[in-house]
Symmetry: D2
Subunit: 320 residues, 4 copies
């Protein structure tokens, strides 16, 4: 292995740049060359790529987003698109790939490996923390802290006005952000796609809170569980409370990464380079029980990553 | 003057607590007593009030919202409601009022003064910065910094995905938050209620940006100018760009106040006490050209507070 | 078990309040009563304690420090002091103790258990992350983020002036904060008590950096490895570089806890209550490989908690 | 005027980059060319300079420090050094200068103007806010917020341990940072160079606080008034209190600029370009009473910029 390719793909996540920096520096340390591919798999097809050196990754450790940019590529999903990609990979002398992204992104490189034998290692970068094979994904800790900060701010107003607020957070298939941020922020109710909820129960809890002198409440909703606006309307219909709804949206992806995400990103990126150097392929690096490990992609792609039920129960108990 | 009443009214704004602390401590320093009224004018009607001392305001200098809470009171708008309020004011021996809030809040106390002669001084606390008689209102600087922080985060994603984002911020009648945050955050377009906008012009600017190699854009919209979702749809219709829309909502009110808001709040609160002690009434304290001044309410209520056109022009020039 | 006592002891750490909240709410949920002891073991001796309810822990989830306060108690180290403490424990009907603090704090309660049989469970709260039996202590993640934020700020100046900065951080016996923050912040050199350092090597690295065009460097020093001021002087003597030294000091303890610390604090606090209810004693709760576990105090007190050597090596490689 | 030179000089201040961006964009908007000079006046002597375009200032609006770097130049203080500088200025076709820095920095360009007639405009960028002719300097608001954040964090520990903390902040000749941050952060005592202090009075205040049940105190010291360590020692000698001392140091310069500093920086930078275009010279731009104004350098350099005594008195009253 003398030259590796590096790309970010899928939704951006804070810490991706810290991981890019680690891949580049670790590779250079071991005498490898790195080619950065811009805009995900599109960059392969359009030959939008070039060499990276120590200077390419100077001063990016603390910046959100990804300097390599990211995009969806419909063409890469076709056999003909991948053939074109492979041509460019060969033209640039790339002998192995590091793909930072979600499990959809790993699938792309995995198919390329099947078809053309080019080794690839995946690095889990997504704010949702819903990938099997790792306890944490890059960007999750930052996103959760952003949501907790928003809860803090909104609680000031909720308390001052003695009202109920609904906050909708990201998580189409996963309640991880909502669960972690709700537990950390002390949300009174947490709605996640993994666990069915009952609007009447939520309303009863609101009423019990009022009786006990509680003057405000925050209902945190993962977008995959319900729409925040729907929940607000249902609460109004059931018990007549006027709620305010905030949809945090893309605010949750960016911002300077937390120390946790930077360290995770550095460790995972460096491990990916080691694996390629050791001749491995079709694996994803991850953190399990504090150790950096590699998991075969067959145990990652399409596998469930269940939420922590204990944490869900605890959040309920602590929000009495 | 031996005993003054203090209330917060209208929407909460970060820094109100710093102002409450200043009113209470300044009053106590001069030997006055302070009665805190809870939940705005409702507290008068329901006699929901009580004495405040140094301990009441310990450890609140850095907390968002208002420890006195705030609420709308329909009853206070009736003559009968105000009669009840005045009864309680007399029962508690209150001889003068400090009202922290917006110009609607000042109107309430002003009518009470007209009807019953009780002196009142207003302190401008609202994130919109749209009150005549002061260069800055309490809460504005904090809100603007919150919006700038959101722009920073969203720009990470906008850059990584090379997309256009629309961010809707508060400001029903005022573009001050949008203008200041847009200038500070480098937004490519700023839409405010004070200045008519042209969606075609905005789209042309987006296209020119693309041509010049600009990979992302942020359109900042004050809610009073347009709905962020509408703008997103219109951009899509006109030039086919898929935009993402974020509505910051109540996030903008709370959070720990900035140093600027804390200092402003302290100075204004202290001045309000001085004015009551000097026998003044029907005035609002404010900051003008760095000096703390008092303005007659007749020059405040219902008066326009125009935006700074130079800043608007500058924002345009700098976002080329 | 009907009534438990709760105290914080040793240096304060951000997240202790989140843990206090969890202990109180979890206990009340299970029908237990909680007595809060103020100022660590002093509170036992001076009977400075009282019942806590849901209201006692309202609105503390996001606040640094500890509402129960903390102090050193020389008297508690004497047999007579502990006898007095035990009298008060009995007088207040306390049947089990939760102690949030470091391993010195656990020793105190452990001796009390030996002498009087009162059950106790320890919760690791210290910014140093140097306690055996847990992968993370409460307050560590917040402290590391504070140091990384300081590195970011100082790097702006280091870059602008093209200079070398020395930053001294906490860690008398442990390099954990320095190591994590140095890796996350991209410090050029990290000096920790666990690994001997060589000032000439550090200076050679500075010179190599200069030759390669690097315009600034940050040397991060754990107080247990060396004094920042000494390092600055030695660099000056060896290679003539004028360095600037910053000592972060007590800045590192406080501040609103990160989401990570809040969640950890909540989980550990709740587990401590469960253990007391299950009749356990002389254990410390901790997080190991993502799971909340209990470890016998004999395996905690005085046991080494080695640093992660892989992370140390990685930090070196990434700072080339 | 077709081509202007731009440099930053003296200590870096957060917001300098926002000002650089405004100068470059405003100049380009009006058809001017901009030459950026690196490392302050050294860059002139070493011809370390080059053209700036829209891309040079992309993505710098929110970054601390200065992309043009800054340095002291002993050679520029000599006639021969300035002759060399002027040669390079002519070689690069520079017809006017914008200097962002403190009043020492303006002096340099002012002498150059006297000797060679090259027009120059100063932009006040320094965290100390001690320049006559402007109510605020670029970087001051950010520095004050950084200090307030530090006070918040340290107060958590001060409260938890019931102790007195001394915090030393920047300000060799000016107490502005200490005064603003002390008022905003609620420091119990504020020591500034402009007003003599009495250690006995400070100790008496500490004792009175203790008597009244106050459990902690923060003494904020501008470095120009005393050394924090000295104050700590004196308090110990006089009344036996063990204090902890934190020296914030260079932490105060960097970090992402606040919205206030960004807007100020943008407005001042743009105004500087306008003045050069209008044929002005030897002036400093500033903000006075909310308006952007120009002041002759003879009224700026060496002129006192007194502190706001009212604010000092208010801080005393509010910290009772």
């Amino acid at each position: 292995m003398q030259r590796i390719g590096l790309l970010t793909s899928g939704g951006d996540a804070s810490g991706m740049n810290s991981s890019i920096r680690a891949v580049v520096r670790k590779a250079i340390y071991h005498g490898l060359e790195v080619i950065g591919i811009r805009r995900g798999y599109s960059g392969f097809i359009e030959a939008d790529m070039g060499p990276m050196n120590l200077g390419s990754v100077a001063d990016i450790i603390g910046r959100g987003g990804t300097i390599l940019h990211t995009a969806r590529s419909e063409r890469f999903k076709t056999k003909e698109g991948r053939a074109l990609a492979m041509e460019n990979i060969q033209r640039f002398g790339i002998q192995g790939l590091v793909v930072i992204g979600g499990d959809g992104s790993f699938t792309g490189a995995s198919i390329l490996h099947q078809e053309y034998g080019i080794p690839m290692i995946g690095v889990p970068g997504t704010i949702d923390n819903d990938i099997a094979g790792t306890d944490y994904t890059i960007g999750f800790d930052t996103a959760v802290n952003t949501v907790v900060d928003a809860i803090n701010k909104i609680r000031d107003t909720a308390t001052s006005h003695e009202r109920t607020f609904v906050i909708e957070v990201m998580g189409r298939n996963s309640g991880n952000i909502a669960l972690a941020a709700g537990l950390a922020g002390g949300a009174e109710s947490i709605l996640i796609p993994e666990i069915p909820f009952n609007i009447e129960e939520i309303c009863q809890k609101l009423l019990r809170g009022i009786k006990r002198g509680k003057l405000h409440s925050i209902i945190l909703v993962a977008e995959g569980a319900a729409s925040g606006i729907d929940i607000g309307r249902q609460v109004k219909e059931q018990i007549g409370f006027d709620t305010k709804v905030t949809i945090l949206g893309h605010l949750q992806r960016g911002g300077t990464p937390t120390a946790f995400d930077r360290i995770l990103a550095a460790r995972l990126g460096a491990k990916a380079v080691e694996l390629l150097m050791a001749g491995e392929t079709n694996k994803m690096v991850g953190i399990k029980a504090g150790e950096i490990v590699a998991t075969d992609l067959t145990e990652v792609i399409g596998k469930p990553s269940p939420i922590n039920k204990n944490m869900y129960e605890l959040a309920k108990i602590l929000s009495i």
